[in-house]
């Protein structure tokens, strides 16, 4: 009898704990973007890159879509660092999740392929 009571209690408790899933996991996107604009320099740029990668990881863990533009921003960072292969991979990812980005991503992929 006691175990039944405990099980019921835990079930109700857990059900009450369920919160609605957030639409996107932005973490500290806004803050690191702001730091990059305010301070500039390689350190804040590296932090920006890290925050983008972290958003992707967290989104996968929480099973939510990666926010618009995150993959594209990361691809652009790689493009600027002359890492064409990874840049294209990230642009393709952006296209996959957001078909609205297709035109722009295709233009960027073209640019990446013909670069230097």
């Amino acid at each position: 009898m006691k175990t039944v009571f405990i099980v019921v209690f835990i079930t109700i408790f857990l059900a009450g704990c369920q919160t609605t899933k957030p639409m996107y996991e932005y973490e500290n996107y806004s803050e690191s973007f702001y730091s990059m604009k305010k301070e500039g320099g390689t350190e804040s740029e590296a932090q920006w890159k890290t925050s983008l990668e972290s958003i992707i990881k967290k989104s996968k863990v929480k099973a939510v879509r990666v926010p618009p533009g995150v993959y594209a921003n990361l691809g652009y960072i790689h493009l600027k660092a002359n890492d064409k292969e990874n840049a294209i991979i990230f642009f393709e990812q952006e296209k996959q999740i957001y078909p609205e980005a297709t035109k722009f991503m295709d233009n960027l992929i073209q640019k990446a392929k013909t670069k230097g």
Binding site: K37, P68, Y76, A101, F104
Partner: protein, 247 residues
């Protein structure tokens, strides 16, 4: 009371009456009534343009630009990566959003695939400081324009006014001094970006939800305060004087 002061009192009373009569209560409209074109065109991809800075603060543009993407994306739209698109626009010679504001916007669809463009104007980004009184104002005017028709699909203003004055309640000259110093510190430390985000929330809420939001196309009946917008005068961008070859 003398005749003159009676007249003064009457005059004051009449002025107050007249002025209070001028303050109209807010008119409420639904999203569907106010922005019908949004529900007809149904833009999915929004290009967030670099803000147009009409304020007295030079840093406003950079700092404000970091706050727009997120709330728009959370409202359900596909937002193009701001940093990337700003660079691309510069490469195409678009250094200022003002340059394209009055022009046909179909090129933004051709290159980016954007259904619509979000323009923001920073009207105020400043503090009005008078030693013992300090007010911070952030005022943003935002518009969504279609890339197909270049028509304005949505227009709203978000303004935040914050009182940064400190009144410790202490009396006398010493009290004034304490208040003045505290107000100065408060003003210097004021983080405009925090208030900018509040200003954003005041206009983002009026945008019809985008395709990635659960309430997409289900929010026509949501009410908002109707705003009156002045007739727009195009911002004439003056061309730099062409240099004579002989000079």
């Amino acid at each position: 009371m003398s005749q003159i002061s009676k007249m003064k009192a009457l005059l004051t009373f009449l002025v107050v009456l007249a002025v209070s009569g001028c303050v109209a209560p807010p008119t409420y409209v639904t999203k569907g009534e106010e922005f019908p074109s949004m529900y007809v065109e149904k833009p999915r991809a929004l290009l967030v343009m670099p803000p147009i800075n009409l304020s007295t603060s030079a840093e406003a543009k950079d700092y404000y630009s970091t706050t727009v993407e997120m709330p728009i994306a959370l409202h359900g739209y596909y937002t193009f990566p701001y940093q990337l698109t700003a660079d691309v626009l510069k490469q195409q010679g678009v250094y200022d959003s003002e340059l394209v504001y009055d022009m046909p916007l179909n090129k933004f669809y051709d290159y980016f695939g954007a259904d619509a463009v979000l323009f923001t104007k920073i009207n105020h980004w400043d503090t009005s400081y008078t030693v013992v009184a300090s007010t911070l104002t952030v005022s943003i005017d935002a518009e969504i324009k279609s890339t197909k028709t270049s028509e304005v699909l949505w227009h709203y203003n978000g303004t935040v006014v914050v009182d940064l004055s400190v009144n410790s309640g202490a009396g006398g000259i010493a009290g004034l001094l304490v208040n003045a110093i505290a107000t100065a510190i408060n003003t210097a430390a004021a983080d405009y970006t925090t208030y900018a985000k509040v200003a954003n929330s005041r206009f983002v809420g009026s945008i019809p939800y985008g395709p990635y939001h659960p309430m997409y196309l289900k929010d026509k009946e949501i009410k908002l305060i109707q705003q009156k917008h002045e007739e727009k005068t195009s911002h004439k961008v003056s061309k730099p004087p062409t240099k004579n070859a002989a000079e």
